[in-house]
Amino acid sequence: MLDLPKRYVPNGASDSGGFGSVIYCKDEHLDRPVAIKFIREDSEKHRLMDELNALMLLRSKHVVQVYDIVKGESDSIGIVEEYIDGDDLSNSPIPKTSYEYYLKTLWQIASGIADIHGAEVIHRDIKPNNMKLDKEGIVKIYDFGLSRDEGAKAVTKGFKGTFGFAAPELIASGFVAFSRAVDTYAFGATAIVLSGLGLPDALQKIPPQPLPDNFMSTLPFKLTPDLASLITACLAPNPNDRPLMTHVRDLLSRHLLHNKHQALAVHNNKPLVLNSSKRTISLRFSDVGEIVIEYDGFRFYVSAVSGEVLINNQAVSVGKEIPKSCVVALGGSHRRANERQFITFDVSNPEVVL
């Protein structure tokens, strides 16, 4: 018989699935709705607790919060989670309504997965059904009941997951080693599904096959070449070829923050501002050295350089991105102090507005 702490009052609703069962309750102490998910405690109890602890420390806007652990029946434990009143992402028309909403949805999912990976946890069942949109339209990833720690113990017996989203390395018999790259693969599949296209045939094969060439051009939204190859890379058959989720998140935010950055250089006691309305500045010290910095709406980079120029004491080459905060030196270190000039360079830290 289930002996739930008195503070959790079941509201009568419940659910069950491959992961176990879930009941919906009200937490009387903190006056909030919660979902308590019961899963079997396997032989790796310590690992599971470590992982739940990691998730409890997570402060991600895009991951459902884990509040507490309670004892379940016999050999199961209950994970007390934030209850989100909202639509499942697989039922939501929002990502499909415009390219901007599509990218914003992908960015939120990528941010959530990056946060989960940052806590050294693997989700293991990323798919649109495991994400909700809350009342403010914010994507929340949940249902990481199957998740396993990364590392030597990240092996699973047989297959637990969702066909179509599961990486090829998971579709194998016996003990299968896996890494956080399984979430990256599932993110790639999710990105295709959320465009409205449905799961491609290649991903539904067992084991899943690589996408046909130029598949990305069949998407309802015309992705820029870098984003198309990013999503293709997420679905790479070899897990080592898939990008880190922080990289996926950052590339998506680069597009969402297009033309929103500012940079400030202070040269000869004058502030020089770079942004979408002033795209180029030149820093020059007589004939000692000159650097031209340009903003292309995505990044600040070196568009021309001549003479002696160092950034954070490193040599400079054309095309290179300028560090977010640095000192530009005009004149090499062999020169006397009055033959060198130093310029501080800082960029802004805009946020994606949802």
Binding site: L30, R32, N269, P271, V327
Partner: protein, 355 residues
């Protein structure tokens, strides 16, 4: 130990007290070990009956906010007629202790970063309908000391309790106000409407308090002074003056001017004309500030009244007086700085004197 609890005492069969941390105006704070989840947490328990009255309600309110820049309320329970609140433990100290007691003022780069982080935390709380009501330096926690790696707003719960005391004191008049430690501590950051119509306070009151705090960081002064005289100055809301050192150096003037604009927009008498927290986050997103690490060192020489070297554990770091915010250091001054690779020496920028 101070307060009602003892070291090693176990509360609710789960939280083992490790040490006493502090007491705010309303509650005792302990460091404790969560024996079930094997983690350290902060355990808070009310100090007096007036704090008890609202402890539960305030825990419920605070628990709604989930953001990296807000200290998370983890749990609330009552045992043997005593109330307990479990909060994320932040090892460090508050903005007052960690920063304002160590430096006279903070350079605009770091002010911009702190402003941005706090605005994000406040925006997250406003999105779930929670007003802090008592934002002040002692309610902002700073991780890892002068490195300022992270910033978290705390005591959302307490704010609502403090409010009752505030309302009472304000309605009773100046004699009561000056007796209440809570009120005196909060006054310099209080919006005019908190004083004139304390029962009708809303989100813009937090925006005012943020502006007042940022004024203090940037200038070293409280925008309307201290003591009871501030009441009249706040109600008049005459825009405070910024000392000239904030803008008189080229390295800082551009960012300082942007910050002054933002701070003044927060300190508008008419609550409706202040920016929302979301707008503030967006404005802060246009500020150019680095997130580089901070160090502490000692100035070992200054030459030609224009440049010098700072020694700390690493090789000496070069600095130019153009990079100094505020008062110039002298030989032997302790300074707070960021540094960038350089040859033959790394370069410090910015540099701020420690007290």
């Amino acid at each position: 130990m101070t307060g009602p609890l003892n070291v090693n005492e176990v509360i609710d069969g789960r939280y083992q007290i490790k040490s006493y941390i502090d007491k705010g105006g309303m509650q005792y704070v302990y460091k404790a070990n969560d024996l079930i989840l094997k983690r350290l947490i902060a355990l808070k328990t009310p100090q007096n009956p007036s704090a008890e009255k609202r402890f539960n309600r305030s825990a419920i309110v605070a628990a709604k906010v989930n953001h990296p820049n807000v200290a998370k309320t983890l749990d609330y329970f009552e045992i043997d007629n005593r109330q307990y609140l479990i909060e994320e433990l932040i090892e460090g100290g508050d903005l007052e202790k960690i920063i304002l007691q160590k430096v006279k003022y903070v350079d605009p780069y770091l002010v911009a970063k702190i402003f941005h982080y706090l605005a994000k935390g406040v925006a997250a709380s406003h999105h779930v309908g929670v007003i802090h009501r008592d934002l002040k330096p002692t309610n902002v926690m700073v991780l890892s000391g002068l490195h300022v790696n992270s910033i978290k707003i705390t005591d959302f719960g307490i704010a609502k309790m403090a409010e009752e005391e505030l309302v009472e004191a304000i309605e009773d008049g100046e004699a009561t106000i000056s007796k209440s430690r809570t009120v005196v501590g909060a006054l310099p950051y209080m919006a005019p409407e908190v004083i004139s119509t304390p029962r009708e306070v809303s989100f813009p009151a937090d925006i005012w308090s943020l502006g007042a705090m940022m004024f203090e960081l940037l200038t070293g002064n409280k925008p309307f002074g201290t003591g009871l005289i501030v009441i009249h100055k706040i109600i008049e809301a005459i825009p405070p003056e910024f000392p000239s050192f904030i803008t008189n150096k080229a390295q800082f003037s551009y960012l300082s001017k942007k910050l002054i604009e933002l701070i003044l927009s927060c300190l508008q008498k008419d609550a409706a004309t202040r920016p929302t927290a979301d707008q503030l986050v967006e404005h802060c997103g246009t500020l150019c500030y680095p997130t580089t690490e901070r160090y502490v060192g000692t100035v070992k020489e200054i030459r030609y009244n224009s440049w010098g070297f700072i020694s700390n554990d690493e090789p000496d770091v070069f600095f130019n007086l153009d990079s100094v915010y505020g008062e110039n250091p002298v030989n032997g001054s302790n300074v707070w700085f960021s540094k960038f690779p350089g040859d033959p020496n790394w370069r410090a920028h910015p540099v701020v004197c420690l007290k």
